[in-house]
Symmetry: C2
Subunit: 306 residues, 2 copies
């Protein structure tokens, strides 16, 4: 399988979102240029990574598009829908780590997969990881996704919000990575035949959702990027970032799968913050901004109905 018509179109769609998102981020933070790396994958396909490090506003920002194809291992193929081992996958994936501890880190990913001749689906989502909680930011972020879901019959916001809370959970910490967003997978797949009529609707939803990312995040970043902050707040951000790393390296399916199957390491680990601290047995003071954050990470919150 090289690329179906829909696969090629999805790849172009994701490249377009990458261009648009990177342009907006670069306009916001012109201090350093995004660096672009195009790379080839040995088994087939490749990608285009764009990374900014050390910016005034964006301490680290990575926006990746990849389009890969080939043969899956027997073991991995068995875990996915569809017959056979041939596959193609394309997607856009981004993580932004602002410098200011009042501004949250954000992640989003939208992808399209085909396996064998009979299975194809979309997946993706976006989630927010604040260090200092502003409920209005959480509400805004969730509201944009709810509106996007509301425009498409294939998108069930309640289910996607719950799936996001389930996915970004760090069991060994008893906490979520952040305050959630949406997460969905296997959209447009109708077993056992696979390619369903909904696939076209799924494509429209994913295009719309990827197009909503900037609206979900930029207003929050713009509001927080110039806030004054203390050394203690900065330290809290760096220490909390360690949990972001823990989630990504221990639990994140894309990261672990990518690393263990020969993906491009630098593009996969682009998601990790550039500056991180681990501290032994840290517990936040009661009634502090630190404990207020930890509290909302322990149990999922319905931000739009709070």
């Amino acid at each position: 399988m090289k690329s179906s018509e829909r696969g090629a179109r999805a790849h172009q769609m994701f490249l377009g979102h990458q261009d648009r998102i990177v342009d907006a981020l670069q306009a916001l933070d012109p201090s350093h240029p995004f660096r672009e790396d195009s790379w080839d994958r040995e088994g087939g396909g490749g990608g285009r990574s764009r990374v900014l490090e050390g910016g005034d506003i964006l301490e680290k920002a990575g926006v990746n598009v990849s389009c890969v194809f080939g043969e899956l291992s027997e073991a991995f193929a068995a875990q996915l829908p569809g017959t056979g081992r041939s596959f193609m996958a394309t997607g856009v994936s981004l993580v932004l780590h602002p410098r200011n501890p009042h501004a949250p880190t954000v992640h989003a990913n939208f992808r399209y997969l085909e396996k064998g001749e009979d299975a194809a689906w979309f997946g993706g989502g976006g989630d927010l990881t604040p260090w200092i909680l502003y409920e209005e930011d959480a509400r805004h972020f969730h509201d944009v996704w709810r509106q996007a879901c509301g425009r498409h019959a294939v998108a069930d916001h309640t289910a996607f919000k719950a799936a996001c809370d389930r996915y970004f959970h760090i069991p060994h910490r008893g906490e979520a990575r952040g305050i959630g967003g949406i997460f969905f997978d296997y959209m447009g797949l109708e077993p056992p035949k696979g390619i369903s009529a909904d696939l076209a609707e799924a494509e429209r939803f994913v295009d719309d959702a990827a197009g909503c990312f900037l609206g979900a995040y930029l207003p929050v970043l713009e509001k927080r990027k110039d806030a004054s902050f203390t050394e203690e707040e900065r330290d809290w951000q760096l220490v909390r970032r360690s949990r972001y790393v823990e989630f990504n390296l221990v639990y994140d399916r894309g990261t672990v799968f990518g690393l263990k199957t020969g993906g491009r390491t630098e593009s996969i680990l682009m998601s990790l913050p550039n500056e991180v601290r681990w501290r032994y047995d840290m517990s936040p003071r009661p009634d502090s901004y630190q404990s207020r954050l930890v509290e909302v990470l322990r149990e999922p919150v319905d931000w739009l109905d709070r």
Copy 2:
């Protein structure tokens, strides 16, 4: 299974090594006291963690003893020798992260396990992770382990050195975590009956090897701890530490198993450095101390015959 006579004796032996090692480290770096935490495990047993953070010489040091027992999950029990699901495990585990980039990070672990009525074994090892390579330090470290192995018929230094190189490999980086040492497992186990005559010899070897740790590492630390260093060298250390984190969170069996089965998170992650940097696609300048380090991490080196 609560604890056999040998299990109780091994636990006491490991507590003794913890005392001795912590005393020596505290004497070397009296700037901050080691903090002690005793903890209980829900399923049975517990541990005694000793941690120093922010010391003048030891930026972070953790020396843990645990002794746990109970029932393994069906799936995990099937992966280990011995019948049934009951187990006990005790061990001492330590990681030291000196502040000075000329001084290497070090890890050591010695443990004893029993499973069911018919299997018991020792395991462990020690390995060194320099940031700036001093070949004489590498030779000294390896030489101490070779001498320890030479004193015991159960210990095959060549095999243990090779096992260490295999274990501390980071496939997604194509590099070893450090310059090795020794690694051994299932020592004293003679399938299918399990408890072999060698177990007593294994116990003597492990006691001797744990007793050698300070001799293997302290002379190196003492030689490097006061070396003057540049900002660039410090940065290199912090960036390279990210690979230490990657190994521990993605591949280390003890870490991943511990986190996923409800071990005490703070004691498990005590191994992670307190200050870490990730940098996108960093390649060291040719003919630099950075590239010399990376070179010896790409292919195992026979340090004692170089």
